[in-house]
Symmetry: C2
Subunit: 241 residues, 2 copies
């Protein structure tokens, strides 16, 4: 494992808690506008539009479009369902940018700082540059470099998304480890020759949807990752940081 | 000035001391190979090929090519002049990558950390992503984001280089300040609406070519920059960090 020089991170779900973050942000804006809302349902509904929107781009039906624009379009689609269609233009924009203000998991900032002492730490997210930079400032995520999105011009799990990120660092895929809480992301990275680090995030979809790390450890098929960790501090410990 | 949200930095000369860095690196490699070399002359000669190589790309005679490749080609051009044409392939590559191992000026790391508390700090250099990331790790330059080069696909001082960097951050040019030790860079940024911060680097071309900051202050033509600073700590102080 000493060959690994860079850790490339999935961000939504792996490093930040998008569901609580979006729920808290929409609550503030809804309260201000005296709108009653189920904030968790809203967060899930907005996130549900995420993959279908990117899929149009992956299929080649649409040219590469940054996530801030997809989030804006997706919010328009679901806003009337949640009584948010009467928001002012300013509040609507503030809500679109809620993705720039997501909180890290409790271990994220500290764990990244430890990992940064020994490795290049990079985002390899579908989030655009401005989103990633603003989120990093907001939640104290000290990335060495923002990759993914505009830098690679492809959305994960397309192979080019991973390969171009490694190439931007002038590293071979086996010198890069994809770090993610999601099997599909790790599998796609692994198929391109990258090393893999799984991070357990049982609360990504809320406490009622908790799952146990033993499910991951017990699974011997696709989930044969190089590292399986409880959180980023644990990953740092396992990697000798 | 409170509108400024991001500082975009020129790097070679402004943040790192390329001349001493290259001279020290070539000395090591030359000594190992028992080659006698005037290391400062070599650094100047290599750097002299920098602008002409990029100019071909700016003129549209060549597609965008990263600086590591231009450095490699330029080294080939001048190597026989300095007795370096018999280097092994490994030593040649090590020398090409000397630009990844340049030292910051004494104030650079500390000054950037201060500026980072209040602003997004970004590279807006012609250096490619891998070069910038490796240099940052080597010299403890804690950038929030690496812009320039591949991210913008244009070499400074082309207008698009500045405009695309601001756009990547979703900021208007007037919300971004170009920070550089070079008037041409600041002038080009200023013409696109960016704010300007001059940093005095009298030793960039060696101590024998020292010039005084009064030359800058006294000049009332193109050099009417928003901030004129002695170094990055001074700039941080002036910006209230």
């Amino acid at each position: 494992m000493l060959k690994v020089k860079a850790l490339l991170f999935d961000v939504f779900g792996t490093v930040v808690d998008w569901r609580s973050g979006i729920a808290n942000e929409v609550k503030k804006i809804a309260n201000k506008n005296k709108i009653v809302i189920n904030a968790n349902d809203f967060a899930d509904a907005w996130r549900a539009e995420y993959q279908p929107a990117m899929e149009e781009i992956r299929k080649g039906n649409r040219s590469f479009t940054i996530l801030d624009i997809l989030h804006m379009e997706n919010l328009k689609k679901i806003s009337s369902r949640f009584g948010l269609d009467k928001l002012s233009s300013d509040d609507f924009d503030l809500l679109v940018k809620a993705w720039h203000r997501l909180p890290g998991w409790p271990d994220s900032s500290e764990g990244l700082n430890k990992l940064k002492t020994k490795f290049i730490i990079a985002t390899q997210s579908n989030g655009n540059i401005a989103l990633m930079v603003n989120m990093a400032k907001y939640s104290n995520l000290n990335w060495d470099v923002i990759l993914g999105a505009e830098v690679v011009g492809h959305y994960k799990p397309e192979p080019e998304a991973y390969l171009k990120a490694c190439r931007a660092l002038h590293l071979n895929p086996e010198e890069c480890m994809m770090v993610a809480a999601h099997d599909d992301d790790l599998k796609a990275a692994s198929l391109q020759g990258m090393k893999t680090g799984y991070v357990h995030r049982p609360y990504e979809y809320g406490k009622d949807k908790l799952f146990d790390i033993s499910e991951v450890n017990d699974y011997k098929g696709d989930r044969s990752w190089d590292f399986i960790s409880k959180d980023l501090n644990d990953l740092a410990y396992q990697l000798g940081c």
